[in-house]
Symmetry: C2
Subunit: 382 residues, 2 copies
Amino acid sequence: MSRVIVASVGYTKVGDHWDKSILDLAVEASKKALKPHPNIKPDTIIVGNMFSSQSARQEHLGALLASALNLVGTPAFKVEAACASGGVAFNVGYHLVRSGEAASVLVVGVEKMRDLDVAETSLALTMAESAEYTQFIGATFLSLNAMLARLYQETYNVTRDELSAFPVIAHQNAATAEHAQFRKAISVEDVSRSPLVSDPLRLLDCAPIGDGAAAVLLTSDKLVEEDDEVEVLSSKISTNVFSLYERDDMLTFSATKEAARKAFSEAGIGVEDVDVLEIHDAFSVTAALSVEAMGFSKPGEGAKDASAGVYSLKGRYPALTFGGLKGRGNPAGATGLYQIAELWLQLKGRGGLNQVEDCRIGLAQNIGGVDTTSVVTVLARR
Amino acid sequence: MSRVIVASVGYTKVGDHWDKSILDLAVEASKKALKPHPNIKPDTIIVGNMFSSQSARQEHLGALLASALNLVGTPAFKVEAACASGGVAFNVGYHLVRSGEAASVLVVGVEKMRDLDVAETSLALTMAESAEYTQFIGATFLSLNAMLARLYQETYNVTRDELSAFPVIAHQNAATAEHAQFRKAISVEDVSRSPLVSDPLRLLDCAPIGDGAAAVLLTSDKLVEEDDEVEVLSSKISTNVFSLYERDDMLTFSATKEAARKAFSEAGIGVEDVDVLEIHDAFSVTAALSVEAMGFSKPGEGAKDASAGVYSLKGRYPALTFGGLKGRGNPAGATGLYQIAELWLQLKGRGGLNQVEDCRIGLAQNIGGVDTTSVVTVLARR
């Protein structure tokens, strides 16, 4: 077994990239990640992407990227698990290096969402749900999460303003993050009074649509030697009952819970050891249920804790430190790699205005569907 | 490192499955593969699929299948590399078991093609090629291969009847294969006089469109003990310059050549040790260039050798032993797993009327695009 190092990272700004193709974005992020290590030619390239076939009529992204990077011959393929595609691609790359099969792997997450109109994007994202049941009855990914938010508020007496806390934290941090889609702070009132899009979710409860790519170069510890290297301590995937309506307990994110349990166990750490975390805040309710499933908050207290400052940049568990999905943006298949890149910045002390002080251990949680697939990854600076 | 065993296989008949969804097909093949080992619960599920989003408006196949198999919690994801999706999924599963990360992995290839009309299917398959260049100018996957066939015939003086040899072998073997799409022998004249579809390729040069799923259960040798176990000796992926028109030498399948070189090397065998082979005969010309790239035939002699009987069931290198892509069928993302399942049948001596005598070592070659991605896998009965 090799120790696995995140040797470098690269990413584009998230937003509207009308002048760039999906390949352009992937190449830009990849070149930035490869640049600091000109002598490393990755043994494998893995692309995390959800719906390039819908947005760009393009499959076969792995070989396409290998060729564009002048890395012809390199094994390359795409990994897909809805919005967890990036996290799962990272997980596969991690295992290839850890096992010694590869000395280095370039993992790239990319999504082009803005070439579809809003309705098409909503339909594309809803392909994370069952075509035969959930899609068939007309539920969208947004409306499913809205129903979950209502259940969450009613079960735990969560107020509208408490639910607004995570988006406020996200935008607060995005305001000073150069690569974020929305660099603008918002107030609790802004969220709580923004237009309803699917009752009770309001516009500012929901992560936006945007284009972007993020890449990380994973290497064996034998290949790169640095004093402050960022090591992958663990990366675990788990799955939940596929459809929300089939679950006995819709408010427990059991995929996240199980992935976190395994990731903590393999890393040999507990919740209290985490210094910085990136969670999958696709919706305000998703953020709340995520921190609860991993044990950072008690059941029903995620949004309340956020409201009390626990997840703010100077709180006990700084989260969404460059804006999360809500503020930095959520280019579906790229999101999981943005999370890793951002943890890397934090652990390296390169967080600029968003730096979390004295952080050594970081955790990323990346979801596909409504906690249908979840990937939890733990990184540490040595 | 664990030795990796193909413990069992399962598959559906290839053809028109109007009454079954993509999930139904994947479940059917998976259950067959899992049945012989009721005590093994796979540690990971990997799905090879190319375009479920186009044909079934369904992404997130990994978690969907895990849930349908009552394997909730199991890590699950999809792998895509065009028509090599199945072979690449197998490769990823192999590495997870080999490294000890998983004791068992269920790898399932599935594609539902017949729910699209023929034009839509052609467009979906052409997503293996560059959207910005090749697709943009209107070339289809078929027309690219037609141009390659013309170049092949003109460069090496390959006659029309010689080019017809691989489809004849495929149908000869498919006639007695229960799971094949076209159980009908055809003659050289049938191929050479079938309707032109893209000059010089004729209807019977081209693998058909069909639905299907194939699954294999991979395990560590510590988990399953049998006398005649089928072991994976090696599995290697390589890539070529993405677009055919950019290649210096279009007639050398360099991805296949490199993947085979590495696969032979790691398995510690040479061409002459292979007893049975499954090649990616998407078109007659593809079969010819594939055997040439791997060294079974000299450059320019693949089709001629096929014509001379080298690749027939009782020839020196029996190929397409249950019909290959042409006769058994080519459900894109499933094809690579059908190949593995068929080699398993041969090596176990369960080939029925299609059994290759005294075979111990089998090789599968699975391509995405025009040799853009290639996976070569070597199996052996111990």
